[in-house]
Symmetry: C2
Subunit: 386 residues, 2 copies
């Protein structure tokens, strides 16, 4: 019989421009997560840090430093990097660790700090997540790569700039109600379309910001969670997949292989179908990414995807609320933290603690966390622990 | 009943100064490893890259690029970083993945390339593995930090520079018989002692070189290994531990908490004692590190450790052969690859394919892979698969 695995606590810093270092943000999120659970840090038997560019603050090997700081220096720990899916990958390794029986209580902490760098420098570092020898080195940064996918989507499906803008409008509205969000301001379709073109057809407001931030998630075996009487949600599916790293290697550009494959596996593992999902946090680094995500996940039909936000389907009171947190688009995107920050929203929503952002159908939540342009994807399904 | 986990193939590039990129070295080691096993790359269901400083070649998110190159783009993959114990940590995650039942066949590939950088630049990157806010930023690079431990060992135990030099002499002699080693030349105690002082009391020949290189290890469930009739050794213990990250946080400086704790756990998991170990590859980034390692692992007594090499105990024909490969000291130390490169030696030795370096008692092998000054440690025990 498989061991069940649960999330028993989750916390994050405010995303945005940080005046403290990455290690301090990581510690802040970790301590908040531990405080919320009431667990003694010495009960943690594995620590996993999700981080991409710690070297910009001259700090590799961050995991044992964090574990030393929280008062559990002898616990094993390491860092996982999988571009923007580092957080989801950390959660997957935690899940495997508990399933294996080797670990009972795993702390995952994602962190990134880049806004102290000049913009050209952070752009340079981010582009290292592409297949650099074929993409980044030729000047193709992520707005450009996602613009190629957006253009393909428009060509194949008739998707319009207004449809993409509607995704930004929805996610900014959600973020305006999220005190932890980077961009707590509403925008209109007209404002999105009037904003400068970053990479045609993507406007400034189609793109997520560079954010600093940290997020922490505490994972336990079901047995330990029950013994402690902890508030808990079950990780009903934990799936990592991959896809061809460079755009040039793909058969299609309007969908991510890794996401479609991951969704199929996740639904099978959780023994549900896409219609059972109550709400989702998906990887909307650009508005087009949310359009592809909700179709790849089967949350909406192929013909509904492009206009889902414009038609209200993915609003908090819609058929399937997507990115109630504000998403990467407006909550922000500190790359190492993002995948775990998604889980913070899921945990709060499932415990009915999301305040004004609360979604009505909160029994089954899903996270979709993509690395780069789809070379990696982590999908998790969460259910109430029964 | 626990699932058993086996290593079924292992390969590495020659360590040294590479003229090809890290991604090319990683691919070379991966393909050699797959060729040796005869496995179809599409049978791999998880890929793990161990790497610390890929950003110096502008490449993060290396794992899906590698998986795309070997012809299995949809398999999940990610990078693990744990300073110099990245390789051992990758193997541990592979082990947990197979034990969990989520994976059957995991390819681990460690890689590092730094020698194309100016020496000051590579030194700067390496120092990011320290607790940078307290060590690296003050100019304490690794030779300096290990020199502090060496001085403490000399003070507490009466260890002499000649004893440390004897470790270098042994490991250089072994490396001289290893065509994959970086430094294939013998040295004498007098040459070590006459070499420039890098950080008192450590001389130039007490220090491992900066190396480029890659190593790959293929891990399978026992069931899959038997079904395929593969040459295999069992991973009888896989243990990761941690220790206080900075030297200033420790109660003692002549031993690593993470290694002593890890050894105790590993022997318990493998149901053996230290006397059962036939040979070991230990983390000798500096000669003093091997002295501490063999005592922390219980391979020699506390009073024997300092003089073990000088007395011949750790030579290939001694009581307990240590670093028959040449070790980090002379085989070389491409940080992301090192922990997996140790497993390449174990695999070859246990299959009696180590040529002139063959150790006589090859039924149980052990690897000891340390991150930085002991903030992390990975210990693995390997047995014949019965």
């Amino acid at each position: 019989m498989e061991r069940k695995v649960a999330v028993v606590s989750a916390a994050q810093t405010k995303y945005g421009k940080s005046t403290i270092t990455g290690r301090e943000m990581a510690l802040t999120a970790a301590v908040d997560c531990l405080d919320r659970s009431g667990i003694d840090p010495r009960e943690i038997d594995l620590g996993i840090v999700a981080n991409c560019f710690g070297v910009v603050e001259s700090q590799a090997h961050l995991a044992p430093i964090l574990m030393t700081q929280i008062g559990n220096p002898t616990a094993p720990s390491f860092t996982v990097e999988s571009a923007c899916s580092s957080g989801g990958s950390a959660l997957h390794i935690a899940y495997a660790g508990v399933r294996s029986g080797l670990y009972d209580c795993v702390l995952c902490v994602g962190v990134e700090r880049v806004t102290h760098l000049p913009l050209a420098k952070s752009t340079e570092f981010f582009s290292m997540g592409s297949d650099y020898a074929f993409e980044g080195c030729c000047g193709a940064t992520f707005p450009g790569l996602y613009a190629v996918m957006a253009r393909a989507h428009m060509h194949e499906r008739g998707t319009r700039s207004e449809d993409l803008a509607a995704v930004a409008v929805k996610n900014h509205e959600n973020a305006a109600m999220n005190p932890k969000a980077h961009l707590q301001k509403r925008v209109t379709v007209d404002e999105v379309l009037a904003s400068p073109v970053v990479a045609d057809p993507l406007h400034f407001f189609d793109c997520c910001p560079f954010s600093d931030g940290a997020a922490a998630v505490l994972v336990m075996s079901e047995e330990m969670a029950r013994k402690r009487g902890a508030e808990a949600v079950e990780i009903a599916a934990s799936v990592r997949t991959g896809g061809p790293a460079a755009l040039q290697s793909r058969e299609r550009l309007d969908s991510l292989d890794a996401a479609r494959l991951g969704a199929a596996k996740a639904y099978e593992q959780a023994r549900i179908g896409p219609k059972d999902v109550g709400f989702a946090e998906v990887h909307d680094c650009f508005t087009i990414a949310e359009v592809m995500a909700i179709e790849d996940l089967g949350l909406v039909g192929a013909k509904e995807a492009a206009r889902a936000a414009a038609d209200g389907l993915t609003y908090r009171d819609g058929r399937i609320p997507v990115n109630a947190s504000g998403g990467l688009k407006a909550k922000g995107h500190p790359v190492g933290a993002t995948g775990l920050g998604q889980v913070v929203e899921i945990f709060d929503q499932m415990l009915s603690k999301a305040g004004p952002r609360q979604v009505p159908k909160n029994e089954i939540g899903l996270t979709h966390n993509v690395g780069a342009t789809g070379g990696s994807c982590a999908i998790h399904v969460f259910k109430r622990l029964r």
